[in-house]
């Protein structure tokens, strides 16, 4: 019950920070103030909030769960690749977005695309694809909130009520605080994440009697020794993951966050410290996930290991639904919670509950981004702002926040989480495939709106195709590959336990490469659509 009280206290603090703290004025905010915090965030809040906006529930819970099942490879797949690609994309693309936003008053990436390529409805198509790819994250967050509150209250708070409470808190501070409130709450949450990692390693390590013995025991067993290497995955699979962080800068909420910095100089600390923040959060998460394999004296973890062992020995002969049940039983998504239950004192368990809640509430910036995009890219663009004024525009944004939260909540009550887990998995690939749009807009004079449309439509079709393969072909046992489409005697598209594959790569690789290819080819074929020199002069100039 103490854990639940700490989580509720955390929700209260988040609500207070988001709504009341750091409010600049009591008057009605204008669109830039509400959606971009008046482009006035300082360096510390900019770093912490941008980093927090990039961190989802996966960074604490999912990373440990993945490491529990797959070993140390999790860090290389998801953390160290992001530690290179995300700061570089902020350095190269984020700084230019910031400058263009300052100079031209852009509030969303689509506004920039419309201006850059002199297009209207094609921008709407880009908006639609971006919005559809973003919605599953919001639904997942509602589900995570419901599950977490139910877990920390020992079932006293039902799932539907937990989801409603978390939705109301997030909606409250996004509705009243806009970008300023969201940024400060994100900064607070990131500070919690950063604190948790080191404390958890120290306390759990001491509880386990030191990690040296745990690692030696894992190495001594043939079934767990591979978890300390990467021998179970292919280098092509590992390489594929380096394409995933390209999605970060293409996510609308990250693009919008880039516009909130007061000065360009605020990006300096952000790009230098971003890899350090990754290290501080991901290294403990991954290491503890791996070490949990040695925690056989914790009953819940022992049951997971038993389910995994059964799956490995009898899995191929089992029916698919029985295999799925065992997979769910062996899943390590709650392994950190179980470790804390087994080894840590109550105060750490309570702090962890608050951290988990912070992680599942990471949908705030996505809700605000969707609202910003709707009001700027649709409402204002199609004449709503000029007809009704800026106050109505901000009001529309707030109404949209309420509606999207309500819709996400209702969907979360009705639909199984697995569908949205898959949707978010492929949303990353989708946003990576949209990243050539940003590169072409900012660095290639000859790119055209038709190239942008081709890349956008390709992304939408590819995401649907991959999701269809994933849904219609059941997941085979680990190590088995089901051919889906072959050509010239080789398997081109296949279905493996980890998802759909293309020539041994994750779909994100061909999706991104073909998207870039289409951007180039279609732009070359439509030279008459190259924007006028007056437009290009705003994007390509010598200092």
């Amino acid at each position: 019950m103490i854990q639940a009280a700490v989580v509720f206290a955390y929700l209260g603090v988040a609500l207070y920070i988001g709504i009341f703290a750091f409010r600049k004025s009591r008057g009605a905010p204008d669109a830039e103030d509400y959606f971009l915090a008046g482009r006035s965030l300082g360096p510390a809040v900019f770093l912490l909030s941008l980093f927090g906006a990039n961190m989802t529930a996966f960074s604490i819970l999912g990373a440990s769960g993945h490491a529990f099942a797959n070993g140390i490879v999790t860090f290389g797949l998801m953390a160290s690749s992001s530690a290179l690609i995300i700061p570089v994309s902020l350095f190269v693309i984020g700084t230019r977005l910031w400058a263009l936003g300052r100079r031209n008053g852009f509030i969303t990436p689509v506004q920039m695309f419309r201006d850059r390529w002199e297009c209207g409805h094609i921008g709407t198509a880009i908006f639609a694809v971006q919005a559809v790819l973003l919605v599953p994250y919001i639904i997942i967050a509602v589900m995570g909130g419901g599950t977490t509150l139910a877990a920390v209250s020992g079932g006293r708070i039902p799932y539907w009520l937990g989801g409603a409470i978390v939705s109301l808190v997030v909606m409250g501070y996004v509705f009243f605080g806009g970008m300023r409130g969201t940024a400060w709450v994100n900064a607070f949450q990131t500070t919690l994440f950063l604190m948790f990692g080191a404390i958890a390693v120290a306390v759990i390590g001491s509880g386990m009697g030191g990690f040296r013995g745990a690692m030696e025991s894992l190495l001594a067993s043939p079934s767990t020794a591979p978890l300390l290497t990467r021998e179970r995955i292919s280098p092509l699979y590992f390489f594929s993951y380096t394409f995933i962080p390209l999605s970060s800068i293409a996510f609308p909420h990250i693009g919008i966050f880039c516009l909130t910095a007061k000065r360009l100089g605020h990006f300096r600390k952000t790009v230098v410290l971003y890899p350090i923040c990754m290290l501080l959060i991901w290294l403990p998460s991954v290491f503890l996930g791996v070490a949990a394999n040695a925690a056989k004296d914790v009953p819940a973890i022992a049951a997971k290991l038993e389910a995994r062992s059964t799956l490995a020995t009898a899995g191929p002969a089992m029916a698919a639904d029985q295999r799925d049940r065992l997979r769910a039983q062996a899943s390590g998504d709650d392994v950190i919670l179980r470790l804390v239950d087994g080894y840590a004192p109550l105060w750490l368990a309570s702090l962890l509950g608050a951290c988990v809640m912070a992680a599942v509430m990471a949908s705030d910036s996505q809700i605000l981004a969707l609202s910003t995009m709707f009001t700027e890219d649709v409402f204002a663009f199609y004449g709503g702002k000029s007809r009704f004024g800026e106050a109505v525009q901000v009001f529309t944004g707030r109404v949209f926040i309420v509606l999207i939260t309500l819709v996400a909540y209702l969907i979360a009550l009705e639909m199984p989480q697995s569908i949205f887990d898959i949707a978010t998995q492929y949303a990353f690939a989708g946003y990576s495939a949209l990243s050539p749009l940003l590169v072409a807009a900012l660095f290639w004079r000859r790119s055209t709106k038709w190239g942008a449309l081709a890349a956008t439509l390709w992304t939408a079709l590819a995401v649907m195709a991959v999701a269809w393969i994933q849904q219609t072909i059941p997941s085979p046992p680990p190590g088995v590959v089901v051919p889906v489409w072959s050509a010239f005697g080789s398997v081109v598209i296949s279905r493996a336990a980890q998802g759909a594959m293309v020539l041994g790569f994750l779909p994100v690789v061909p999706m991104t490469i073909i998207s870039a290819f289409l951007m180039v080819i279609v732009s070359r074929l439509t030279p008459s659509a190259i924007p006028a020199n007056t437009t290009l002069a705003r994007y390509f100039y010598q200092a």
């Binding site: 830039e32 140390i72 490879v73 860090f75 290389g76 953390a79 160290s80 690749s81 530690a83 290179l84 700061p87 570089v88 350095f91 230019r96 910031w98 400058a99 300052r102 100079r103 031209n104 008053g105 506004q111 201006d115 002199e118 297009c119 209207g120 990690f211 040296r212 745990a214 690692m215 190495l219 020794a225 300390l228 290497t229 990467r230 280098p235 590992f238 390489f239 380096t242 360009l264 300096r268 790009v271 230098v272 971003y274 890899p275 350090i276 990754m278 290290l279 290294l283 991954v286 290491f287 204002a380 663009f381 004449g383 000029s386 006028a532 007056t534 437009t535 705003r538 100039y541 200092a543």
Partner: protein, 94 residues
């Protein structure tokens, strides 16, 4: 620093991320408990911070700030695009 040098440094780090040399090795356990593959990627992550520090020091695009006045400008709606033709600069309020 020239853009090409910066690009080469980034590409070099990207290649170093594919550390096939530690693919099957768990030992030595650095500090007695950290598998060498995990230690390598933790060190790689720190190297990313160093690279970004070098880029910030030597290749910072300060011209972007110099050229970015704090001038509120108006974003065009569909009607304005139609009235002014599809080509033309964003209209400024002041």
């Amino acid at each position: 620093m020239r853009p090409l040098t910066a690009a080469i440094l980034i590409a070099l780090l990207y290649v170093l991320h594919q550390d096939v040399w530690f693919w099957r090795a768990a030992r030595p356990l650095v500090f007695g408990f950290l598998p060498v593959g995990l230690f390598y990627h933790a060190a790689f992550t720190s190297a990313c911070a160093v690279l970004m520090w070098v880029l910030v020091k030597r290749s910072w695009p300060s011209h972007l700030e110099a050229d970015a006045p704090v001038i509120p400008v108006r974003r065009r709606s569909l009607d304005e695009m139609s009235e002014g033709g599809k080509v033309g600069p964003t209209s400024r309020e002041r």
